[in-house]
Symmetry: C2
Subunit: 359 residues, 2 copies
Amino acid sequence: MDKVFFTPGPTQLYPEVKTFINQALDDNILSLNHRSKEFIEIFSSTCDSLRRLLNIPSDFHIFFLSSATECMDRIIQNVVDKNSFHFVNGAFAERFYKTAVELNKNAVKAEVNYGEGFKFDEIKINNDPELIAFTQNETSTGVALNADDIYRIKEQFPDSIVAVDIVTSAPFVNLDYIKIDSAFFSVQKGFGMPAGLGVLIVNDKCIEKAKSLNERNISIGSYHNFLALHENALKFQNTETPNVLGIYLLGKVCDALIGKGIENIRKETEAKSKLIYDFLDEHKKLKPFVKDKTIRSHTIINIEAGDKQAEIKKQLAGKGILVGSGYGKFKDTQIRIANFPMHTIDDVRRIIEVLSDYK
Amino acid sequence: MDKVFFTPGPTQLYPEVKTFINQALDDNILSLNHRSKEFIEIFSSTCDSLRRLLNIPSDFHIFFLSSATECMDRIIQNVVDKNSFHFVNGAFAERFYKTAVELNKNAVKAEVNYGEGFKFDEIKINNDPELIAFTQNETSTGVALNADDIYRIKEQFPDSIVAVDIVTSAPFVNLDYIKIDSAFFSVQKGFGMPAGLGVLIVNDKCIEKAKSLNERNISIGSYHNFLALHENALKFQNTETPNVLGIYLLGKVCDALIGKGIENIRKETEAKSKLIYDFLDEHKKLKPFVKDKTIRSHTIINIEAGDKQAEIKKQLAGKGILVGSGYGKFKDTQIRIANFPMHTIDDVRRIIEVLSDYK
């Protein structure tokens, strides 16, 4: 039986990934020197495709790291001397905050319960933060922040660098990059690729900040500091031998998504999430974890399933549908369903059919 | 025409890699959750295979990072508070040294010219180094240090942590791990795999050192600090979603190498390098860059080709054989030939045949 992975990631591969990988093998892409003309063309073409797909302005730089977790690490290291501020409403926002703590920064957080958003007007940011960190789509809870709220904070703190975790919302989320300074994601989520590549998007303000820290002899790290990444990215290269296959596949998947039309993909994603949320809102026992409809993620849907969780997961698995468990303390009571471009509306209907049996 | 990559890395893929990748795709390995039982089995099995292949003692820990360059970064960050000492005889040893400088350590180096080894008896190590760093096989020059020299330094400085770069000598190099503290490599060299995975091997002394730095509030980094890596490795996991395909493939390639017998592979490697060096020693114009026969690398062979370099490379390429250029200032005058397990003795003979035309 064919399996379909609706897990938050790693997840179902984008349908053409197998073909793309075999093309890479046949074309000897994986044996290419990482300073060669051929590799530079791949790097450059992937950047072009990603810019087109996500509408990334030309004055933003694209860096290839190894994971979104590394992106957090490098952002803190390169733009924070002393103070950062973090909006924390789940495990991944907490990871970003903890990264700052572990790197000995004065990190302050505004924290709300899992499943909730923020009352932005009531939150005081008064530690003069060099960085304000948002987790736009919290993979642990299924809460999505509205981009407008993020832009408003940036307007209030124009001197701070605003970095946005879009790990499980890209490529669905439609960000206006000029209203933020940095965003990052990993590819084993909405791009349906093998894990092992993190993508970090930064503007010149981030590079300038790294430069200024470096000039003041504050360590910004070594091979993956922003100055080294930037210097190499200008030549369409990495400092180290990067995940060449990942960079190649990302370009191919972006091209496939462009072919389908990002607007179509966004509409389809909303249609699929509406099917699930509408069903859950009517359901007597299964409930969406996120009560506030204005902050429900379209791409990560957390369902409160209580003591039926294991049974439902098993039932779905019996039909070849693999879904995620809840995160942390919700591990045994919640189900998480990813809703990415490679998940079809027919498969979503099959999930709902199974869930309908629980009355 | 089929191509054979004799480049130092990325290089020719191990013959079964294509089959292994397609097996991973068919078995949905790339969609597995990185905390799942199935993933844990893959991680654990890869560690077992690597331990068997390289004879790594059970009290050494295996960490999966993203590149050898990251390994350098993390070693410095986790075992050096103030002082490190570096044996520098090429670009990669210099990279290790520079990493320490960039992380604001007091790094001291003993430096010799490219193509040379060290007169170990004459070198004074007197900065009380917490780390002594060796590049056992210098990929830029084709110089291989003898393991016994490394062990002797460790005997003289038992309190220092000795870390050994075996990026282009693994799995050929036969190290006695209990006589050092750490070694690392990346997989796109002697293992013939796609790039994007670095393997770091450390003993408890390294973990203890990281713990002591951490307790003294000296930053050891965040998600890839040794304590987090160690805690997760004990559960056969990474802190982040790692390069799952890389970890899976490494296990499969190790099993294949074990099947061939590591002793056979080592003998075959020596036989192939002997063919090339013997030929070069007799040749009137083409010369081995490394004059001292006792420190010639078996796995990276640098040839001085002078003004014939471009022509020879082209000639070889015409027969489907891709070799590397020299490194840095030797870019246009040297040829680098990798001699890894997937390179056959017949292909080596084909290289020699082409080189024989240059009289």
